[in-house]
Symmetry: C2
Subunit: 323 residues, 2 copies
């Protein structure tokens, strides 16, 4: 019998095979070489898998969703290439980023090309709702840009509350998951209600994922390097919660650390203790749990199916929660 | 009676009004402020005017073409913002470029947003061929990227022939004009033959424009600064023609100048004389004339109309030729 993980692996293989065959053209070399480099990098392929599962969860045929799945993954890679330039990140998934391995001009151009390639595959989708689907895809890209702009604006501001932070997270992180599952549902022939359920499910998933990621930064044993967000003085969910809710004394201690030129390992341990004292860690864990529960509850509005079950398993897998 | 120039002015006003009302949203400020800045800059609006004229030339209603016209102009502005970063240009139409007035990260993001905004308006077009139209638009963007990549590759190579150069020019300069008129024709309800005529017309227009621009660089009395391409050691049509066709002695003299660290005014005068001696200037002028004649002849395949006449006038106006 085939289990969840085997099914996910087989979907990933399908996507990876198609990514290898995106545009078999080889010239201009300065354009197609980095295009293939980025598309053939490692990746969990969560977003295209969401497209496939959403399509199946409303009773659609998975083959109809593969072009859109590819489009969503290519679009995701576009955001990686351009965000890496903006964030001056030199490494991604253990390899040099495009602007580092080639140069910035190349990375800008490759990102632009990936957007067009994403549309190219989206427009191949077998559906009679291509205008509406393309519109959701397009609005999604505008939202991603707004999210990235907000994220950059927040870097130089301490005056952010949790609502503003979560609005940014929804745009920058959740939106792509949301349009992935909404488009999957539409291609699968889902009705408006099913579309909405799957879109909302992915909003909860994306937002919970980001808060969870902010929490894991404070867990010495997690996959993340302990305190890497703090070292970069990021305004994480925990930081913003504490900054808005902690006592004046705790807030001052946190701000003192964030105003240092270099944040040392002992500062990270101190910050973790402060986030515990302020109740920020507990609060964040509770919000993640609520998000997960909401997401799982939402799926109950769909008819039972293997794909519906797989969406719950996917959620637990992404959020690294034993199901 | 309304003449050609008044009609062009009225189309430009229509486009400019719409550009002012693109996305009335104001936040995030770091995103929408530069978006509005670039869209409200000066511009001849040739590409959207081509969309309108092509639509009318096949008997369509100009109002149906305005969303696509806006989309094409926004897409053009996207290429300007990103090309200006890649080419490190600080000024555009007498104003600071986006990456100069703000910063590179902002300019990358704004360009990305403009691509999505372009699709947003394209998808509003009143047509039952939206999938096909979006596909032409998308393939056009991929071609633009290929053209830009080739242009960059040519910067570091002397081994280019006229065919390679014209292939690059068609992708980088002509393609946007080609999809403008093709999409205009489709929205106007044109048949395959009319579509092809208008697409081919714009290929001739775009290619002739680039060669003409390369010639004008060698005319001391033209709108261009005399020899600005030569100062930047660009491989213009004239340079490539001479490098492939001139005598060994002329070629050597040209190469000697292109290998200097700084090109002086007297070098520019010398280069002009060498391009005359090699027959490159005459050859280029002849190719432009042939292109213009071809383009005008092509239009005769369409039924006579004011719009068809305006397309000829537009061609002469763009190529600065007295008609």
């Amino acid at each position: 019998m085939v289990n969840f993980e085997q099914r996910i692996d087989s979907y990933r293989d399908l996507i990876n095979d198609r990514l290898k065959n995106v545009m078999t053209r080889k010239t201009p070399v300065s354009f197609y070489e980095p295009v293939h480099y980025i598309l053939e990098g490692e990746g969990k392929r969560i977003r295209p898998i969401l497209v496939i599962l959403a399509c199946k969860a409303v009773g659609g045929n998975q083959n109809d969703s593969l072009d859109a799945a590819l489009a969503i993954e290519i679009l995701h890679n576009f955001t990686l290439v351009h965000d890496d330039i903006m964030d001056r990140d030199d490494l991604r998934r253990g390899r040099q980023t495009v602007h580092k391995k080639w140069d910035e001009a190349t990375a800008i151009l490759v990102g632009d090309g990936l957007v067009a390639l994403a549309y190219h595959y989206l427009l191949k989708s077998k559906t009679d709702r291509i205008r509406e689907i393309s519109d959701i895809f397009t609005t999604g890209i505008i939202d991603l840009c707004e999210g990235q702009a907000l994220d950059k604006e927040f870097e130089s501001s301490f005056d952010i509350d949790l609502d503003q932070y979560m609005n940014m997270v929804e745009l920058k992180t959740a939106r792509l998951l949301m349009i992935a599952s909404e488009i999957g549902a539409m291609i699968g022939g889902g009705d408006e209600q099913q579309q909405k359920v799957l879109r909302d499910f992915s909003r909860e998933l994306g937002c919970a994922f980001q808060i969870q990621d902010d929490i894991l930064d404070m867990e010495p044993t997690s996959r993340k390097t302990f305190g890497s967000d703090i070292k970069q003085k990021k305004k994480t969910y925990l930081f913003i919660h504490a900054n808005n809710n902690a006592s004046a004394s705790i807030k001052k201690q946190i701000m003192d650390i964030y105003q240092k030129d270099i944040i040392e390992p002992e500062d990270i341990i101190a910050i973790r203790r402060l986030f515990e004292q302020s109740g920020s860690l507990d609060f964040a864990r509770q919000v993640v749990d609520e998000g997960i529960n909401n997401a799982v509850d939402m799926l109950q509005q769909l008819s039972p199916s293997e794909a519906r079950q797989d969406l719950t398993s996917l959620l637990n897998w992404i959020l690294e929660r034993k199901s």
